[in-house]
Symmetry: C2
Subunit: 221 residues, 2 copies
DNA sequence: CGGCTGCTTGAATGCGGTCAAGTCCAGTGG
DNA sequence: CCACTGGACTTGACCGCATTCAAGCAGCCG
């Protein structure tokens, strides 16, 4: 695809874009993890509202809306490909199949969002962490970053806590329980799932959420 | 807009569409409240993941994706206008401005979704309920259903609980506290906000979330 | 080495869930 | 008209989960 304006590599902690600032291009994440998060109105609380894995368009919402309403921050060192919104707009003017494809990506994004609502609203801590790990396994597997229930997840327990709506202290406890239950182990940024079905049951995880068989892959060239 | 195929009125509790079932048209909500919710994988838990107010497109996600991944249920008696997806598709083939407008609606939807994640993940019960009421006031005001901090919200406390990730018993307690704090009163489906700023501060509500000045209104004719 | 960050564990507090009883309706049918 | 019913709401008591505060440890780096 010729709309790509080149690759960038950014260190962990880099701010891809800041809430409220207009951004001229959408980013496709090629490698690493990116978090999208929002501060409370007074800054005293903060919540990660989405986590992007390789293959995800990070801020496609900004394309029709011009402005992003949350912060986008690299959790690990990342590689991203920029797609200038103006170029995308030109392409779409001539080809509404592309428009549909991009739009569909945003609806997948929305599906993941309500899934996060579900996790944080309906599940207790142990189930929430299990659910989160199931989701990451599925999405990273679709991005070819997980085999045989093993994958790298280079997040601190504080990051996981922010993603699951609990403190890092409690994340530590819940991971211990999952380990002691023989479901999975998480250590030094590596996740190993020993009992998929058990972990899914524990996390009330619907394995066909994202019915992602039909996802349209993008690659920048 | 000629894409509308007519109005329907449905009673409270009606199922507009069911998770996994293909649906041939998108619905614009004209009057009433509609909840979108998901059951856990084993059905033992349930979570409302979005709430639609008049003026919202309820299931536009189904348009590019064909299938909906959650249930859509009328909370009150509702009036909806159907927009057959096939007709929308024809329109869009000739006019990509419409595509952009519809797409933008789905991104607003996504914004509301992460806002729900924030509410359930980062806020305690009292703040969550306050936040929820602030959001409803804003959205219903934009839909011309709220004046002077007064609006109808015909939901049971169980509904509110499902939307905020807590039990109806606790919703009752939190509403009492908000009332005793002089922030707002909720009774028999009516909400009266006495202290907007106080309620926003309590709910960590960002008044410019949805920066909805620019929202594009739809009306069916 | 000292300082830092991330992880672990313990103890105490309190928030929110659960269970249960009781009130207040609107609706139904005698 | 009144008894009965069921749903929505309220309140109290109890308990358990998660936060908070704190201390301790391991690894990393200046």
């Amino acid at each position: 695809m010729t709309a790509c304006a080149g690759l960038r590599e950014l260190p962990a902690g880099a701010v891809l874009s800041r809430r409220g600032h207009p951004i001229p291009s959408s980013q496709l994440l090629l490698d690493g993890l990116i978090g999208r998060s929002v501060p409370g109105a007074d800054g005293s609380v903060r919540q990660m509202v989405a986590l992007q894995v390789p293959g995800d368009f990070v801020d496609l919402h900004s394309f029709p809306q011009e402005v992003l309403d949350h912060d986008v921050i690299a959790i690990t060192p990342v590689t991203v490909a920029a797609f200038p919104n103006a170029r995308l707009r030109e392409l779409i003017a001539g080809d509404h199949v592309l428009a549909m494809a991009l739009w569909e990506l945003t609806t997948i994004d929305a599906t993941i969002h309500w899934h996060w609502s579900f996790r944080m609203g309906a599940l207790r801590a142990r189930a929430a962490v299990a659910n989160f790990l199931c989701e990451m396994e599925l999405r990273l597997r679709l991005a070819d970053r997980s085999q045989g229930g093993q994958f790298r997840l280079p997040m601190t327990q504080s990051d996981i806590g922010e993603a699951c709506g609990m403190t890092s202290v409690h994340v530590s406890r819940m991971l211990r329980e999952l380990r002691q239950a023989g479901l999975c182990t998480v250590e030094s940024g590596r996740v190993t799932i020993h009992d998929h079905d058990g972990l899914r049951r524990m996390g009330r995880f619907d394995p066909q959420f994202l019915h992602l068989g039909k996802v349209t892959g993008f690659s920048p060239d």
